[in-house]
């Protein structure tokens, strides 16, 4: 069977081999490895077999711990089994990993290596996770490129069967897992040849079976455990030979020879760098460059890291080596050195002491850290290491690629050094997330990689926002193998797919002289020059760039592509880059369109074809004027009035210049100020809502639903309007008691994402023109300056006294200041309105424990974060521990607050006489059941602190420490509200055990489940909340089982306040639920319907879909309030009517359901019928519960009422 050349990324390469060579695959999503599970699930759903002809069984588990357990079980029962993971996921597998290796079990885990959350979480690549499992007894094999991923995946599979030891096969997260490259695909025959059937039979023969019963997993005592642990030694000794043997056999089959420790460079090298992973390719490229100039340098690529074969390792080094630098892509604080460095030192020292030393003298060895969290690792950095090795006293334990100015460990490097050659075409594309740029570029890589002899590489960089994110695609093409595992900094083609980027991104700094610049512009070749910022003009002239423009949006619109410009820009790229002859390129683009979109329908293909055809007629070359004419500067990234930290630190990150920040600029414990999102003006909305003050009834619904808190309302004394901007709008307030006051509804024009939810929520229609609402979408650019000034003025208007307003009315709540604003959540997000409401109601006293997921990413992904504080400096404290432990994390906060409260009370009681009996009593007996009570208590505490400070000043007579303690914990006497926030992946799946325990504890915590019915953050994988019949990743055939009724599980405890809410269906019920949950002195859980981009419809209809979800009975709203039970009432209150529309009227508005109708209509019909039955059955149960009379008060056990 001939091998074909394919372009794919590292994840697909690994999954391809894993799926072909396993029988059971247990998976769980985690970035950046999720795609491996997704591919496996998809291939099995499509009926693709493994090399033995059967379809692997793919099962999603509730966590990585669960996946490891399932893998362990399947292995013990004799199946070839695998899993994929990264980062924290791998850490959750550790307990099972010890078991699997201790039992000498063959398996390969494929790991897209990623950072570990410490001072902050990072989804990006380094070796911290795999280094954390190096003690588990697993063999560890590193792949450095996409081709190697495919090859070593098979080599690992072959070796594990022979060695009887489990293997971690790892490659760098994102850099390799997501790099698209051209590889030679292994065939089924290759795999069969590498996996002898006798070894597979031997694996099966070791399985547990009642037909030949054995006991495995005994508990052992001090007498024998140690000896038992040492039995495995021979197996480890054999591994290097087995792996090298597998590599040699593989070379015999494919012609690609790998070595455990592979040296590249001058045979007589004196300076050698040792490293593993993708960085080795950049180093390899650098070595080729340096040796060509006669330098005696080399690198040693470590492929087998565990077991570390010291003899083979030493033998691979040139005998001439005098200086060694060991580079570790990890950090082990407090250690004698990072892991690879320590191994190298040990190998050299052991060899020296044993008299087997192969070198004339002991080489000088230094170690350093590089590339954490996908930090760039470039040839310039590699060269700086070689340069360092030449120094008389080189730095040891250095850092590379950062400015470490605290303990001064970093090496300097010369960014001008480059190994890029003109043989390789280097292209940069700046696109908007979801505008199709990345997809088109992946497609271009495929076209060039598969249709020409060129090598091709694609790597894609995203910013941290979920709305309006910027993507940068780095593409290389050329006749030679591409080892450049770093970003392009000298491009000969740059495309800007969004005109607005020009005013804030300095992209032409990456252009090589004579490069081509392509701009998507509403202005044609004759008008564009005058609209360019000065800096852009300077660069175009200075670098002699060729400059093309196209109005891609116009072409897209005219050809039925809507706002999708991907095909247009891709055609432009091929037309002017000359990578392929133009006609050939057009043919290939069309072929590719047919392949990609053909199954989505002929009309989709037809409009893409039309876009291709129309593009060339609209592409224009701009004649470059000789002089710079523009005076327009690029916009500052952060306003001048921002605090210094924001300007100097966060501002650099916003500008895309975070790499330049020195270590000293960073907080050393991961603590950041809140309220920084307000400084990042992203201007991503094409249209913004504009208030029609005449029509508006001041109901506040738009304010309530705004996901980004960009519509606000204030009522104020009209005197505050002095000096207002000329376009600022103010009308009399429509409040019975505040008619004399002014009212303004103001939009933040530079923060709005343009989602239109507010327009859909507006209940008012113009009687003459019903299409007009009290707010209407209007183009943003003409309004930007004036509305920004209005917004600034609005913010300065005084906040209204909230104690005069009702916390139960939407109308009043619009006046409550949100303490969560301008997050990076998706435009139209269904989650954030709930969080914003939470902060409006209780934000000044709230502690938030946030599970990892969407809400932690838009909640706290740098550079700027949305949680903020009020004028008094109070606001939510926020933290994220992990994905799996959030309920426990939040309960810990509650325990601490309660404990401090108890201690404060004890101290206050002790000092009651000194601080005043009345004050002490009023504090100790304060009623804090409402805001007035809480605010009064705050004043008392302030008074208490004054008194205590007075006592300390006057001389404490030996009570000083106790009084100082009282000062430290006095704030705990004011009520605190603990909120545990997360998505359904956390609450239903990975965190359910903890959630259940916390509910059972009876402690006063509030749990908010933002239920999108899918793992949204990692790309839409199925959770136990996913409804029956919905398509999700890991449920490609439609979820066969019903959605878990988490609410009823919580109800079963009896002591837990439970509410299932949907703001779009009833904002009043939502508000009621939040207030009741917070009031209940026990555990509370609110499960909030959150529409999501992963549902597949226009998010502006999110509120309408919420209504339909309730009307169809899919989302029956209710509240279960144990407080009612204490009054002898039925605690279960239904907040909606019986299902009034068929389920299909709701679900078939969403792609997650309709794609099953299109792909598997029979299954869709069957699952719809079952789901409809689920709805009716659940409703019958709820109706019965709601109809039950309350129990007599004396029989109630309501812990929360204590």
């Amino acid at each position: 069977m001939p091998r074909i050349k394919v372009t794919l990324d590292g994840n697909e390469a690994a999954a391809y081999v894993a799926h072909k060579t396993n029988e059971v695959i247990a998976i769980y999503p985690i970035t950046p490895s999720s795609n491996m599970g997704e591919w496996s699930d998809q291939w099995s759903a499509e009926g693709k077999p493994n090399i033995w002809g059967s379809i692997p069984s793919v099962i999603e588990m509730q966590s990585e711990g669960g996946a490891a357990g399932a893998v362990h079980g399947a292995l013990q029962a004799g199946c070839l089994t695998t899993t994929f993971t990264s980062s924290q996921g791998l850490l959750l597998m550790i307990p099972n990993m010890y078991k699997i290796s201790g039992e000498l079990t063959s398996t390969v885990f494929h790991v897209a290596a990623r950072s570990i959350a410490s001072q902050g979480l990072s989804i990006f690549g380094d070796h911290q996770d795999v280094m954390s499992v190096r003690a588990t007894g697993w063999a560890m094999l590193a792949s450095n490129s996409v081709q190697e991923v495919m090859d070593l995946a098979l080599i690992a599979q072959a070796a594990t069967l022979e060695a009887r030891l489990p293997f971690i096969h790892f490659f760098d997260g994102f850099r390799t897992s997501h790099e698209v490259g051209k590889v030679e695909q292994l065939t089924v025959d290759d795999m069969k040849a590498m996996l002898p059937s006798d070894l597979i039979r031997a694996h099966r023969a070791r399985a547990l079976s009642p037909d030949a019963p054995v006991i495995r997993g005994t508990a052992q005592n001090p007498d024998v455990y140690f000896q038992g642990r040492e039995t495995v030694n021979p197996y480890y000794l054999k591994v290097p030979g087995i792996v090298q043997n597998a590599m040699d056999r593989f070379a015999g089959i494919t012609g690609r020879q790998y070595k455990l420790y592979e040296y590249e460079g001058a045979p007589d090298a004196e300076r050698v760098i040792i490293l593993m992973g993708s960085g080795a390719e950049a180093a390899h490229e650098t070595v080729e460059h340096l040796t060509a100039t006669g330098e005696k340098v080399g690198i040693l690529k470590v492929r087998l890291f565990r077991p570390f074969a010291m003899d083979l390792f030493l033998a691979a080094l040139p005998k001439t080596v005098k200086h060694i630098a060991v580079l570790d892509r990890t950090k082990e604080p407090g250690s004698a050195g990072e892991p690879l460095y320590q191994d190298v030192i040990t190998a050299l020292a052991e060899s020296f002491s044993e008299g087997t030393f192969p070198f004339a003298a002991m080489p000088r060895v230094i170690g350093g850290r590089y590339g954490l969290s996908s930090k760039e690792f470039t040839p310039a950095m590699v060269k700086s290491v070689y340069d360092e090795l030449l120094k008389a006293k080189p730095k040891n334990h250095f850092t590379l690629g950062i400015n470490e100015d605290v303990t001064h460990s970093s090496l300097e490097y010369d960014n001008a050094f480059s190994t890029e050659t003109n043989k390789t075409v280097r292209c940069l594309f700046y696109g908007l997330g979801a505008d199709g740029t990345v997809g088109a570029n992946k497609n271009s890589v495929k076209i060039i990689g598969e249709e020409t002899d060129n090598f091709a590489q694609g790597y894609f960089v995203y910013d941290s926002k979920k709305s309006g994110s910027i993507t940068v695609s780095h593409l290389r093409f050329g006749p030679s193998q591409i080892r450049s595992t770093y970003l392009i900094s000298r491009a000969n083609f740059i495309a800007c797919h969004q005109f607005s980027f020009l005013e804030r991104l300095d992209m032409l700094k990456w252009a090589d002289p004579g490069a081509t610049f392509l701009l998507n512009s509403p202005l044609g070749k004759d008008d564009i020059w005058a609209a360019l910022p000065k800096q852009v003009q300077e660069q175009i002239i200075g670098k002699g760039l060729k400059f093309y423009v196209i109005d891609a949006y116009e072409v897209a619109k005219a050809t039925g592509m809507g706002s999708r410009i991907n095909t247009v820009m891709q055609t432009c790229f091929f037309a002017i880059s000359g990578v392929l002859p133009r006609e050939e390129a057009i043919k290939q683009i069309k072929y590719s369109i047919e392949k990609t979109y053909g199954k989505r329908g002929e009309s989709v293909v037809a409009k893409n074809f039309a876009a291709v055809d129309q593009t060339l007629a609209n592409l224009q070359e701009v004649v470059i004027p000789a002089t710079v004419t523009s005076t327009q500067a690029m916009r500052p990234n952060v306003p001048a009035q921002a605090p210094d930290f924001v300007k100097n630190v966060l501002g650099a990150m916003i500008a895309g210049d975070g790499d330049s920040l020195p270590v000293s600029a960073m907080p050393d414990d991961g603590t950041y100020p809140s309220g920084t999102a307000m400084w990042e003006k992203r201007n991503i909305a094409l249209e913004i809502p504009v208030w029609d003050e005449e029509l508006c009834i001041q109901c506040g619904k738009c304010v309530l639903v705004c996901p980004h808190a960009t519509i606000r309302a204030k009522i104020y004394d009209k005197s505050a309007l002095d000096g207002m901007p000329s376009t600022f709008k103010s009308v009399p307030a429509r409040w019975k008691d505040y008619k004399e006051m002014g009212y303004t509804l103001q939009v933040a024009p530079e923060d709005c994402t343009g989602c239109s939810l507010c327009i859909e929520a507006c209940p008012v229609k113009d009687k003459t023109q019903p299409k007009r609402r009290a707010i209407n979408m209007v183009e943003q650019p003409p309004l930007r300056e004036s509305e920004a000034a209005n917004w600034d003025f609005f913010l300065k208007l005084p906040e209204f006294d909230r104690t005069k307003l009702s916390v139960n009315q939407v109308k009043d709540l619009q006046i409550f200041e949100p303490l969560f604003e301008f997050s990076g959540a998706c435009s139209g997000c269904g989650e954030t309105p709930y969080i914003k409401l939470l902060t409006q109601l209780f934000g000044d006293r709230t502690m938030i424990a946030n599970a990892t997921g969407c809400s932690s990413i838009y909640g706290a992904n740098l550079p700027t974060t949305p949680y903020t504080k009020n004028l008094e400096g109070r606001g939510p404290s926020w933290s994220n521990s992990l994905f799996e432990d959030n309920a426990e994390f939040g309960m810990g906060m509650r325990l601490a607050v309660d404990q401090q409260n108890v201690y404060a009370k004890e101290l206050l009681t002790r000092f009651a006489v000194k601080v005043g009996e009345d004050l002490a009593t009023s504090i100790l007996e304060a009623d804090q059941s409402n805001e007035a009570g809480i605010f009064a208590q705050r004043e008392r505490i302030q008074w208490l602190k004054t008194k205590v400070n007075g006592l300390l000043t006057a001389g404490a007579n030996g009570s000083g420490n106790a009084l100082r303690d009282l000062l430290a914990v006095a704030d705990a006497l004011v009520k605190k509200s603990v909120w545990i926030v997360g998505g359904d992946g956390w609450a239903y799946d990975i965190g359910y055990g903890g959630l259940d325990h916390v509910i059972a504890s009876g402690r006063n915590v509030n749990i908010l489940v933002l239920d999108t019915e899918v793992y949204s953050n990692t790309g839409g994988q199925c959770s136990k909340s996913t409804p029956r019949g919905a398509v999700a990743k890991f449920a490609a055939g439609g979820k066969p089982s019903a959605k878990k009724d988490l609410a009823m599980m919580a109800v079963a405890y009896g002591n837990c306040y439970v509410a299932r809410i949907a703001m779009g269906a009833s904002d009043m019920q939502t508000i009621k639920a939040f207030n009741e949950a917070e009031k209940w002195d026990g555990p509370s859980i609110i499960i909030a319907y959150s529409h999501c981009i992963a549902h597949g419809y226009d998010m502006k209809y999110g509120l309408e879909q919420q209504k339909l979800a309730v009307q169809s009975g899919h989302w029956p709203m209710f509240r279960y309030n144990p407080a009612l039970a204490t009054e002898g009432k039925n605690p279960f209150v239904l907040d909606c009517k019986a299902p009034s529309i068929p389920l299909e009227k709701y679900i078939y508005n969403e792609t997650r359901y309709t794609m099953l109708v299109h792909s598997k209509p029979e299954d869709a019909r069957r699952l719809l019928a079952q789901a409809q039955a689920d709805v009716m059955n659940r409703w019958r149960l709820y109706e019965q519960m709601a109809a039950m009379p309350g129990a007599p008060v004396e029989t109630q056990a309501t812990e929360g009422s204590k």
């Binding site: 997330g433 994110s469 199954k599 009687k767 019903p770």
Partner: protein, 334 residues
């Protein structure tokens, strides 16, 4: 006396004039089987809407693509399916299954938006085994610049293109809103139509006065709607070559009789069946036989066109004077 209910329509021999008109009813194969069991002499399938295919494709493509590559963690939000069955295939499969399952003629119904679409899908229906095709021309000319002549030309072009592309008979179902319907009918005749089906019922949007929204609305027909069909059938019968079928307002055996007497070769029902159930068709046939027995008619052929403008004693009753007379008769009663 044995009564001959047979009729010919589109060159097909039908057991009775009672056929099932095109409706979503026919999306379900079990309904089609039940219709045959209840006596439907032909089944016109629900329409294949070219525009719907385009919209579904477009929507799927939009939402699969719009959510892709927006963040480093989520390259997409949906799994990629092997196929989506978008396009005409599901309809054609349904047509094939219907043909395999029933003995009565199965007529495909097509609503296109482009000339290419009309022709291609008609050919596909022919290949899938349709006994005939009904062109469901559901066109609302809202363009202020479009003349009535242009609208009509579009109809003729369409019919002649489709006729030139398929060998099976082609019926044209259209609405009544033409200035000169009789002339239009002759032009459709010239374009090659094998039958005209009177009339399509357009959605007539209603207003929700509370929400100030336009609400799409289509209420079930009743026998009153038959009048318009009777009128034009009676006027056109035997004056044009194409067969005439009536759909809309056929609810009782008397309605069937009237339709046939006006000149229809087939009278098609949907609303009555939706209202009373499929079994009601049996009842209508029984009543038809009873009526014919009672009135001593031997065959459908015997009564066909007996009340058409060519056969009645007072043809002027179908013309403008009729309106005058009605008015005056009411005034006399008053």
């Amino acid at each position: 006396m044995s009564i001959d209910l047979t009729t010919g329509y589109l060159g097909l021999k039908l057991r009775t004039p009672l056929a099932a008109s095109s409706s979503p009813f026919c999306k379900d194969l079990s309904n089609i089987l039940r219709l045959e069991d209840a006596g439907a002499s032909a089944i016109v399938l629900h329409s294949l809407f070219e525009e719907q295919i385009q919209v579904e494709s477009g929507e799927l493509d939009r939402f699969l693509t719009e959510s892709s590559d927006s963040s480093g963690e989520a390259m997409s939000y949906f799994p990629e399916m092997v196929s989506y069955n978008l396009g005409p295939e599901p309809y054609l499969n349904h047509l094939r299954k219907a043909k395999e399952s029933v003995d009565v003629p199965v007529i495909g119904s097509l609503n296109g938006v482009s000339t290419g679409g009309w022709i291609r899908y008609a050919q596909m229906m022919e290949q899938a085994g349709a006994d005939a095709i009904e062109l469901n021309i559901y066109y609302m000319p809202t363009d202020l610049a479009m003349t009535s002549q242009q609208v009509e030309e579009m109809y003729f072009d369409l019919v002649s293109h489709v006729k030139a592309s398929v060998r099976i008979p082609v019926a044209v179902k259209l609405g009544p809103f033409f200035t000169s319907f009789a002339h239009l009918a002759t032009r459709l005749d010239a374009a090659g139509a094998d039958a005209i089906v009177l009339f399509n019922r357009f959605y007539q949007p209603d207003f929700d006065l509370e929400a100030l929204e336009v609400v799409p609305n289509l209420v079930l027909s009743d026998s009153h709607e038959l009048r318009l069909r009777l009128h034009w059938t009676a006027l056109l019968y035997n004056r044009i070559r194409p067969d005439i079928a009536i759909t809309g307002g056929v609810h009782t055996a008397e309605d069937v009789v009237k339709g046939v007497m006006a000149g229809a070769r087939s009278t098609m029902m949907t609303s009555a069946l939706l209202r009373h159930g499929i079994k009601y068709l049996e009842k209508v046939e029984e009543n038809l036989i009873e009526w014919m027995e009672e009135h001593e008619y031997e065959s459908i052929r015997q009564m066909r066109g007996s009340m058409s403008v060519q056969s009645v004693a007072e043809p002027a009753a179908f013309e403008r004077a009729n309106y005058m007379k009605v008015l005056s008769s009411y005034s006399l009663k008053a």
